[in-house]
């Protein structure tokens, strides 16, 4: 097997032949137990970090607004990557699944983009927006 971290693709174990004495499987999964616990602990620590960062006024520190949202989303994205890579075994997962995910990311990004597109109103240019008055073409 090209990747040791894809145990689900191993061929069927007949229970009679293996049972509790699958030495290779034992070693591989025992090693992962520590990894899973470590990732769990990391996620818990980063949850506390997320909470702590929410009480830091980044807008005051950096100027502008919305910095807290950006910081929180960066931490959340990091946590999600850990869950995906380790718990969901995406690290070393088959190409087929990665291809699904490329498409999903593409389409969900498109969905968010479409939602945000109303601010630009690029087609008719008739939108009035009280948040971004500069974009108001009626003036």
């Amino acid at each position: 097997m090209s990747d040791s971290h894809a145990p689900s693709t191993e061929t069927s174990h007949a229970p009679a032949a293996h049972g509790e004495h699958d030495d290779h499987g034992h070693a591989a999964h025992d090693m992962h137990l520590g990894l899973y616990l470590g990732i769990g602990a990391t996620l818990l620590v980063f949850t506390l970090i997320t909470v702590a960062l929410a009480y830091v006024d980044f807008d005051k520190m950096l100027g502008g607004h919305g910095w807290n949202i950006i910081v929180a989303m960066i931490v959340a994205t990091f946590k999600v990557c850990l869950v995906g890579a380790i718990f969901m075994h995406l690290k070393g997962e088959k190409k087929t699944i990665w291809r699904f995910l490329y498409f999903t990311v593409f389409f969900v990004a498109g969905l968010f983009l479409l939602t945000l597109l109303h601010y630009a109103d690029p087609i008719y240019g008739t939108g009035y927006n009280h948040h971004w008055p500069a974009a108001d073409v009626s003036k």
């Binding site: 145990p7 191993e10 229970p15 088959k94 699904f100 969900v108 969905l111 968010f112």
Partner: protein
């Protein structure tokens, strides 16, 4: 019918079929939640200054529930690893803990967090009347500090002051009976006061503000004149810098009472979906997420019980059970993954 490739990998995909299936399903779930999250972005970016509430949710409780979900993500993957190592007893233990975590999460949400919101009350003040309620809003102070204005008076609904002329007494009595309320005569002429507290049944806070518009009761001739609110800390002490940013520790409403005239109110409601775009999208997303937790718990229970599709399958084909557990595990991690975004955007930001 025998489903092919439930244990062995299909040669062309390199995957057993259920794994391919669950990933396709999760891809569609990303679009489902993606739609709701983009609605959140849309509503939040479109909210006028002061109209997107902050600090209304209980952060310690939310943090606890986040920790519960993360812990369950670890235990579900451990339960799968136990099966791969052919340790059935260990599997039962880890899966049992995972199911318990799911139940705790739902319990906190449904028995504590949501009811607490339903018993909270908020009234958005009409722009023209904001000046009148300055002692509870502190907008002069907020303006000086270049902060968003405060446009809502919130807290626990203490009393609903209703105007019912003597001629409409019969209609009013019917109204009271319908809502299981009792009334006491007010000091003012022709007005009756509904007294909240020991006289009223629990849940009245969410019933009364459901009256279609705050100024007109369902019964003609019965009119809500004003709400008396036990103020939240931010309204009780609006110029205190402590109230400018959300608190970590949840602060319950104070003993300070304020009378808010119905004529000055833009909209008033319990902290239910109709209260504001914030609560609408909060209840929609956390509700859908809760349904996913429930679904996960049901499927995991099925794989945990000694039934044909559950642990009895172990004797027949342990790898098949392991694959089933891996599949539900992938779903469960996805549910955790959604919560990782839900927690900061609703509780913290």
């Amino acid at each position: 019918m025998q489903i092919p490739y439930e244990v062995q990998a299909r040669p062309d995909t390199g995957l057993y079929n259920a794994k391919l299936g669950i990933w396709l399903f999760l891809a569609s779930e990303v679009m489902l939640f993606g739609g709701l999250f983009s609605a959140y972005i849309f509503l939040r970016m479109g909210a006028d200054p002061g109209y997107w509430p902050h600090g209304l949710l209980n952060v310690p409780v939310g943090t606890f529930n986040t920790a519960v979900l993360i812990a369950s993500s670890v235990t579900v993957v451990l339960s799968w690893a136990s099966l791969k190592m052919r340790k059935l007893q260990q599997y039962k233990l880890w899966m049992g803990i995972t199911i318990a975590c799911g139940v705790v999460f739902l319990g906190v949400k449904l028995l504590y967090e949501w009811p607490q919101k339903f018993h909270h009350f908020g009234a958005f003040i009409k722009p023209a009347a904001l000046e009148k309620y300055e002692p509870y809003l502190g907008n002069q102070h907020l303006k000086e500090k270049k902060l968003a204005p405060r446009v809502e008076i919130s807290g626990h609904l203490h009393e609903v002051i209703i105007d019912a002329s003597k001629a409409d007494k019969a209609k009013f009595d019917a109204f009271l009976k319908e809502h299981h309320l009792t009334a006491e005569p007010d000091h003012h002429d022709h007005a009756l006061t509904l007294v909240k507290g020991k006289h009223l049944t629990p849940g009245v806070a969410e019933k009364l503000p459901m009256i279609p518009s705050a100024t007109d009761a369902r019964v003609s001739g019965v009119k809500i004149v004003a709400f008396e609110v036990g103020l939240d800390p931010a309204n009780a002490d609006p110029t205190n810098p402590e109230n400018e940013r959300p608190h970590f520790k949840f602060k319950p409403p104070t003993e300070t009472l304020a009378r808010v005239e119905a004529a000055d109110i833009e909209s008033a409601s319990a902290f239910a979906p109709k209260h504001s775009p914030y609560f609408a999208v909060y209840f929609t997303i956390t509700g859908l997420h809760g349904l996913h937790v429930l679904a996960g718990v049901i499927v995991m229970l099925y794989l945990w019980l000694p039934i044909k599709g559950g642990t009895l399958l172990y004797k027949k084909n342990p790898e098949h059970l392991a694959n089933r557990v891996e599949t539900v595990g992938l779903f469960w991690h996805f549910v955790d993954l959604v919560w990782i975004f839900v927690f900061p955007i609703f509780y913290l930001l």
